[in-house]
């Protein structure tokens, strides 16, 4: 074999992650199939989503083995999108209540 280069890991870890992604996807599908509602539905969907995203980025995209300089440069900015999410939740609630007050109930 040529000299070690790039990201070298045993094939087994990819197969394991692949299997886990199947299990987690089945889980999130079952949430819908079994008509789970309310907060349990939301927490399960988000949990499965974050676990899947984490496994893909960490192992398939090799972030687990990269130096922190790259990891922070790539992972931290998308986390700041959560602030944007917060702003838009306020914004859409405001729009919703304004519409209720001026367009739906009254005339």
């Amino acid at each position: 074999m040529a000299k070690a280069e790039g990201q070298q890991h045993p094939i087994g870890i990819y197969l394991k992650i692949w299997a886990w992604l199947f299990v987690l996807s089945t889980g999130s599908y079952m949430v819908d199939y079994l008509h789970i509602q309310g907060y349990l539905r939301w927490s399960l969907i988000l949990l499965f989503m974050i676990l899947k995203a984490g496994l893909i980025v960490a192992v398939f995209m090799h972030m687990l083995w990269e130096r922190l300089a790259l990891l922070y440069a790539i992972i931290v900015p998308p986390l700041l999108v959560l602030v944007f999410v917060g702003i838009m939740v306020f914004e859409s609630d405001h729009t919703f209540f304004t519409r209720l007050a001026y367009f739906v109930g009254g005339s």
Binding site: Y14, W18, M49, A53, R67, L68, L70, P77, P78, F96
Partner: protein, 241 residues
């Protein structure tokens, strides 16, 4: 090796790990990503910008869905498929999800075999990945046809509820499907190069005229896994919400 250690900061010098490594990498007045080839760093930065684009799409979808006073169409029923006289909710989307995950698995192994210089296995796995990707796009075309022709869903309105459903759906899945299609094309190009042995013979690329190596397979893989990653979020917030 003391002499080379002074000039060659990318190799041969013991670098600290953890937080002090992070600080020294970024403050070293040299390149910040020490052991990452430039192509890979650039792909990561492109993916970061693409993340923001998809974030904006998903956020605008969230905003219109939360602010509308009209009931939102139930995705579980709209995307149901009648199999054997019974409506199975979201079944097509579930199959598409499994196909995309499988394509990510084969891609990860293609990268691995690429670094081992196993040209045939790497290229075949990439072609399998491309095939999965093409299947995904085909199923998406089927889904769009069903929604447009059978259920009368349009970007400006639909018979099931809020008009914003159609615009969000076609915009988000359309943009994602476009990413998958582009990925399939580049997978085929990269697989051809690997199979031909371009990266063992240092052949220059037809577009950049630069010599490539097997890092290109990993960079291709990063893009492909990203497409899978975006689907994870679309599946969760669009189809399951």
């Amino acid at each position: 090796m003391a002499g080379s250690a002074l000039t060659d900061t990318a190799h041969g010098v013991a670098r600290p790990n953890g937080m002090s490594g992070f600080v020294s990498d970024w403050s070293s007045d040299q390149r910040a990503f020490k052991n990452v080839p430039w192509g890979k760093a650039m792909m990561w930065i492109f993916l970061l910008s693409d993340t923001f684009i998809f974030s904006c799409f998903l956020l605008s979808y969230m905003t219109v869905r939360m602010s509308t006073t009209v009931p939102w169409p139930n995705p579980s029923e709209i995307f149901a498929l009648r199999i054997g006289g019974e409506d199975i909710p979201l079944i097509l989307i579930a199959i598409m999800t499994f196909i995309l995950i499988s394509s990510s698995g084969t891609m990860a192994m293609a990268v691995n075999f690429g670094y081992r210089h196993d040209r045939v296995k790497s290229a075949v796995l990439m072609l399998v990945t491309a095939l999965f990707g093409a299947t995904f796009v085909g199923m998406q075309a089927f889904e769009w046809t069903k929604l447009i022709v059978d259920e009368g869903i349009r970007p400006w309105g639909n018979p099931y509820g809020a008009a914003q459903f159609g615009s969000s759906f076609f915009m988000i899945t359309g943009f994602h499907g476009f990413h998958v299609s582009v990925g399939v094309v580049f997978l085929i190009i990269t697989a051809r190069k690997v199979l031909r042995g371009d990266f063992d013979r240092n052949t220059r690329g037809f577009f950049t005229s630069r010599k490539g190596n097997y890092e290109i397979v990993e960079i291709m893989g990063l893009y492909w896994h990203f497409v899978d990653l975006v689907w994870v979020f679309i599946f969760a917030v669009f189809y399951l919400w």
